[in-house]
Symmetry: C2
Subunit: 193 residues, 2 copies
């Protein structure tokens, strides 16, 4: 999505440790007019594929998942990272290693929120090593449901997670794929130098 690539170049900042900071429009502060455009583009990318639910993981994935689910007119479900006292009943769990926080945590979804006849679009804001999305794929399989596909707003192509998910046979779309980044330049996949 060319408009997203341009926005990342204009408003994104590269921090030490291959951190791409896009909090000003993508996660902590969300440009909702642009979000609606990204949701529309996601709907287009998965046109013709049956989707009954959108699944993401808290917290920064929720805004995008909500907008995509609103565009598709299906429910949005998010996995919790910190299972709460308010969650009753049985849950599906999957362990996820976070490179950002350097720790493994469980992501959890109540069993009642996914059923075996669901066709699920998995979305997230960022895709780097792909561990969060792989954990969500694991949960969809535990529920006996179908993975309709996966979509990230921004994929860090050089970290390989997206390509691993593609090799696993899933339709994995990303609205922008960063192939290389330095303090001074961000290069996208397929972009002519």
């Amino acid at each position: 999505m060319k408009a997203l690539e341009e926005k990342i170049k204009r408003e994104g900042t590269v921090l030490p440790g291959h951190v791409l900071k896009v909090g000003s429009f993508l996660n902590q502060r969300v440009d909702t007019i642009f979000l609606a455009k990204m949701a529309k583009e996601t709907k287009r990318l998965f046109k013709g594929i049956k989707i009954t639910k959108v699944l993401t993981v808290e917290a920064s994935g929720i805004a995008f998942a909500t907008a995509v689910a609103m565009a598709l007119k299906v429910p949005m479900v998010f996995a919790k990272k910190h299972p709460s006292a308010n969650v009753s009943g049985e849950q599906y769990f999957s362990p996820v290693y976070s490179f950002t926080h350097k720790t493994t945590y469980d992501i959890a979804v109540s069993k009642e929120y996914i059923s075996s006849d669901d066709c699920i679009l998995i979305t997230d804001d960022f895709l780097a090593n792909g561990n969060a999305i792989k954990g969500l794929i694991d949960i969809v399989h535990q529920a006996g449901a179908t993975v309709a596909g996966c979509c990230a707003e921004i994929e860090k192509g050089f970290q390989g997670g997206g390509d691993e998910i593609r090799k696993m046979g899933y339709k994995m779309e990303s609205l922008a794929i960063v192939e290389n980044m330095s303090d001074t330049e961000i290069e996208f996949r397929g972009e002519k130098k």
Copy 2:
């Protein structure tokens, strides 16, 4: 909002400890068609009031805040409960006591995401003792910005937080106010018995 009251009666469950479980449509699993209606109603309730940003707190407040901000065509900002390694620069903090988790945590918003000329609508999914919304009001004041008003999807009227915020002089709207609840019955404010 009558449709929300009916939905709570139909799909909500009362758990021990005055916990109203509405995860099946309001937070962990979000009915996005209904969410769009709640966002439209919120827009109507604040018609004529200048709003430049919607502010909430992660994680379960994000879906509603996103939908409201999309309806108003303004940015959505969320406060973090667990300040992340990815947040650079200075932040506004406010301590919030959670009755659910029986602990005090800081909520934090990067200073760059709120400016003194902002008119901010504060939203959340639930309002009980009002501590989260009061923390967000504190952050808006720290930024020198204006509180345009506050809106919760569901207020537990019997816990008093909403009325305290009204007494403080803020326009505090809730789409449904639960006045009493037991295992067998949920009664809304203004509802004829």
